[in-house]
């Protein structure tokens, strides 16, 4: 049991310790922080359930390199995301923008909530008008 426990905890430790991005950190810590935030939000198109931060596909490496260059050239985060969306589409971002085709993704939860509230209010209203002593009607 003890061995099993230590084995499992060892596995847990090693999995967090395996960083894919082996590039040196950017000189400016502010840029590096922005870099880390951006790569965690960009999808690796080759391995579609990973961010380019976690993927070791060479495309992910290339995209990290491009993002580095763009940061060093002084582009804003928004411009970098634009660069990626222009080339790879909205799917490239883990947080799709609220515009055009992706708008439905953002408003659907609110619509569902409103729809549910509407149905609930209607049911409660109808039940309020039912005579309280009429059991068969209340169960209907």
């Amino acid at each position: 049991m003890r061995t099993l426990f230590s084995l499992v905890s060892l596995l847990l430790i090693t999995s967090t310790a395996c960083a894919v991005d082996s590039e040196e950190a950017l000189e400016d810590p502010v840029l590096q922080a922005r870099y880390e935030k951006i790569v965690a939000e960009v999808r690796c198109l080759k391995c579609q359930n990973q961010t380019i931060k976690d993927s070791n596909a060479f495309l992910a490496g290339d995209l990290r390199r491009e993002i580095r260059h763009m940061l060093e050239e002084g582009l804003t985060d928004e411009q970098i995301f634009d660069f990626l969306v222009e080339r790879y589409g909205d799917f490239a971002l883990y947080k799709p923008r609220a515009s055009g085709k992706t708008l439905i993704l953002w408003i659907a939860p609110a619509l569902f909530l409103l729809g549910g509230a509407f149905v609930l209010v209607n049911i409660v209203r109808r039940r309020m008008t039912l005579p309280i002593d009429d059991d068969s009607a209340a169960e209907d």
Binding site: K46, Q48, F58, L59, D62, L63, E66, V85, R87, G89
Partner: protein, 178 residues
């Protein structure tokens, strides 16, 4: 009674969506290219055959062109290579290669050994042009119209039946099958 039709319709819509999602013909990795209907991204790269010359968008003006992204490490590219050679033989379209993230020497040997279906091949060693074209997995094939817009993009190895089904309609509608 009409209110009972609402859940039925909603359920039917949900089922339709799920059935569509389960379609075995659907390639779950294929993404629509954001360049469809837009001008093909500009590039200018050294030619694979002769690095002192360059290949750029200007080369495939004046007619339909196929831009095929390939590499020697790409299994699917080997798979479609015979088809590309046959397509060249048929004379249906001018073909250009984009050799993506490859080793120059090996790429040249590949074309020598297997045959060269391309009018010219651009060498994109660092994959930058590939990124500009939104390439994420070779082989990828773009159909570029005479005005330089991207008409269609295909992901994965090509063959005659895919060609007839996906590309030929574009060639016919523009009337430039030759």
């Amino acid at each position: 009674m009409w209110k009972y039709s609402v859940p039925v319709v909603l359920f039917a819509l949900l089922m339709l969506m799920l059935v569509k999602g389960l379609d075995p013909e659907r390639d779950v990795n294929a993404l629509p290219s954001p360049f469809l209907g837009k001008p093909a991204p500009q590039f200018e790269l050294p030619s694979l055959a002769d690095p002192s010359k360059s290949v750029s968008n200007a080369d495939f003006e004046n007619g339909m062109a196929l831009v095929n992204v390939w590499a020697t490490w790409c299994v699917g590219c080997r798979q479609e290579h015979d088809f590309l050679l046959q397509l060249k033989e048929s004379g249906s379209i001018r073909m250009f290669g984009l050799n993506w993230r490859d080793n120059e020497v090996e790429a040249r040997r590949w074309l020598q050994d297997l045959g060269d279906p391309y009018l010219a091949t651009a060498y994109d060693g660092d994959g930058r042009a590939g990124i500009n074209w939104g390439v994420y997995g070779a082989p990828e094939t773009f159909l570029v119209g005479p005005d330089g817009t991207v008409l269609y993009k295909h992901l994965g190895p090509l063959n005659w039946s895919l060609w007839r089904e996906r590309f030929v309609p574009y060639l016919e509608s523009s009337g430039s099958t030759q």
